[in-house]
């Protein structure tokens, strides 16, 4: 069964949706959309580093993301520039450096498009193992830290005063984000992974009234996006990543119609 590339792609996509659903909610709640985007952009540098030093791609992407996150914290203490400027600076310079290095790698055949937009054909059994193994690990960690992380998200002072150690959980969450990007760029592509984190969570927000419900609906929205996106990518021969994100956007638009009806009913 796993020899069929489409089954592999489906399983990979489902695994990714299960992780990005709840994590994406925190990305929205904590206003980290742009930060997630920066980490994703830096993934290209991670991939080129992996090729240069013959490392595992996911590991290399994860390490580069972590370095970028630490570098950001350093920059924040050293300049008065606003956060979005620093994030833009890091996102585009790491993307640029990655592309420059690719230029030097003339001897290695390299599918840049697949990296940017995801490649349905490229999912191997090893990738599946990484997505499901890594994904399970990420979800277990998230389950363990959910309460203190949520408290820290609501209010830093409250969490700190009542013994929740928000700094620790903020750091752990950053690491989880780096990990999720590392394991999912292959199927969604680095330009679109942020979309997979944000759009299902955003549509869930439109139709939920408590955090757990939002996390569940976000996961369901992600799963539907994957299924619709992958099947239409097969049907119309389009790149997998853009198809998935387009499907997510359609679902988001549908959730808007629904909220309008809800609010009309309330009146």
């Amino acid at each position: 069964m796993l020899d069929d590339f489409f089954i592999r792609a489906l399983l990979a996509g489902i695994g990714i949706a299960l992780i990005t659903g709840p994590i994406g909610c925190f990305v929205i709640w904590r206003r980290l959309s742009f930060f997630a985007g920066t980490l994703a952009h830096s993934a290209l540098l991670g991939v080129t580093m992996a090729l240069v030093f013959e490392l595992n791609i996911a590991l290399s992407v994860f390490l580069i993301s972590a370095v970028i996150a630490i570098f950001l914290l350093q920059l924040q203490t050293k300049t008065n520039l606003p956060n979005d400027a620093l994030l833009g600076l890091l996102a585009h310079s790491s993307l640029a450096i990655g592309l420059v290095i690719i230029g030097f790698l003339t001897t290695i055949r390299f599918d840049v498009m697949g990296l940017l937009f995801g490649d349905i054909l490229a999912v191997s059994k090893n990738d599946l193992l990484l997505i499901w193994g890594g994904g399970l690990f990420i979800l277990i960690i998230l389950k363990i830290i959910w309460k203190p992380l949520f408290a820290s998200t609501i209010n830093y002072d409250l969490a700190k005063a009542e013994g929740m150690n928000p700094d620790r959980y903020n750091a752990i969450f950053t690491i989880l984000m780096a990990a999720i990007i590392a394991i999912s760029i292959k199927i969604v592509g680095l330009l679109l992974i942020t979309g997979m984190l944000i759009i299902p969570a955003a549509l869930a927000r439109n139709i939920s009234n408590n955090p757990i419900q939002m996390a569940l609906l976000s996961t369901i929205g992600g799963l539907l996006s994957i299924l619709i996106g992958l099947f239409s990518s097969l049907e119309f021969n389009t790149a997998s990543g853009p198809s998935i994100i387009t499907a997510a956007l359609l679902l988001f638009l549908i959730s808007l119609i629904k909220t309008k009806k809800f609010s009309e009913l309330k009146k």
């Binding site: 709640w29 609501i154 209010n155 005063a161 013994g163 408590n210 955090p211 939002m214």
Partner: protein, 248 residues
């Protein structure tokens, strides 16, 4: 008997600076079981800052803070919750502690907002939210309560009821309370110990023992000192308009 009460919080000569400017300095006090310690002072005098220092919220402080309990309930002065986050009152109640439905109901009932339990936090009025904040802080049966202007935005009738509740809680649950309040009536009638702050400790003492004080009068005006004919101690300095201290 007084000495047998457990000390919950001990603050020794603490201060904090931001951008080389001292926000507050040289503050010492302790909060014991069943005792209410109140911080008063004009705006910008460092009351909330002192409470935050005591709670360990600042990373870099001068002096020492010792906390002898980890069951702490906090009602911050300002809480900026991202209202795009879907969260009901009942979700907010269990933010830092697991509670049974009964515990949630009892706490909300005490502050008179049980009917709001399943409402979205973003739909509450300022006063309702304040009551929920207090309910959340007391629901976990804390040993130490830190209340930073807990009744702001609450209607007049509710204000009195909530202060009575706070007093009752300190007696019943035997918890120590660090209170920040602008309501001098309450402060003087319900408090065991008062610290008057203005960037540093201007004066401090037990209201029933110390009588009217010139420094206090200077900070709060003559009308304030008429409220309590029983608060006084000696002052050795005055404040010039720019906030510097002139020794007498």
């Amino acid at each position: 008997m007084e000495n047998k009460k457990k000390v919950l919080l001990k603050v020794e000569n603490v201060g904090v600076s931001m951008n080389d400017k001292s926000l507050v300095k040289g503050v010492s006090f302790e909060v014991k079981q069943g005792e209410i310690v109140t911080l008063i002072g004009p705006n910008g005098s460092g009351k909330s800052t002192t409470a935050k220092i005591a709670l360990g919220i600042y990373k870099k402080i001068d002096g020492k803070v010792k906390t002898y309990t980890n069951k702490i309930g906090y009602v911050p002065q300002k809480i900026s919750i991202d209202w795009t986050l879907p969260i009901r009152v009942s979700d907010f109640m269990t933010l830092t502690e697991e509670l049974t439905q009964d515990q949630i109901n009892i706490a909300l009932n005490l502050t008179g907002v049980e009917h709001l339990k399943n409402k979205s936090l973003s739909n509450l009025s300022g006063g309702e939210f304040q009551r929920v904040l207090i309910a959340r802080a007391i629901s976990k049966q804390p040993e130490l309560l830190v209340l930073d202007e807990p009744v702001q935005g609450v209607d007049f009738k509710g204000e009195i009821a909530l202060y009575e509740l706070i007093k009752k809680i300190s007696e019943k649950m035997k918890c120590g309370i660090l209170l920040i309040s602008h309501d001098l009536h309450v402060v003087m009638s319900a408090t065991d110990y008062v610290l008057c702050l203005n960037g540093h400790v201007c004066c401090s003492g037990t209201p029933h023992r110390v009588v009217q004080d010139s420094k206090y009068k200077e900070l709060f005006g003559d009308r304030a000192s008429n409220i309590l004919s029983l608060y006084e101690h000696k002052h050795d300095h005055t404040h010039s308009p720019d906030g510097t201290i002139d020794q007498k």
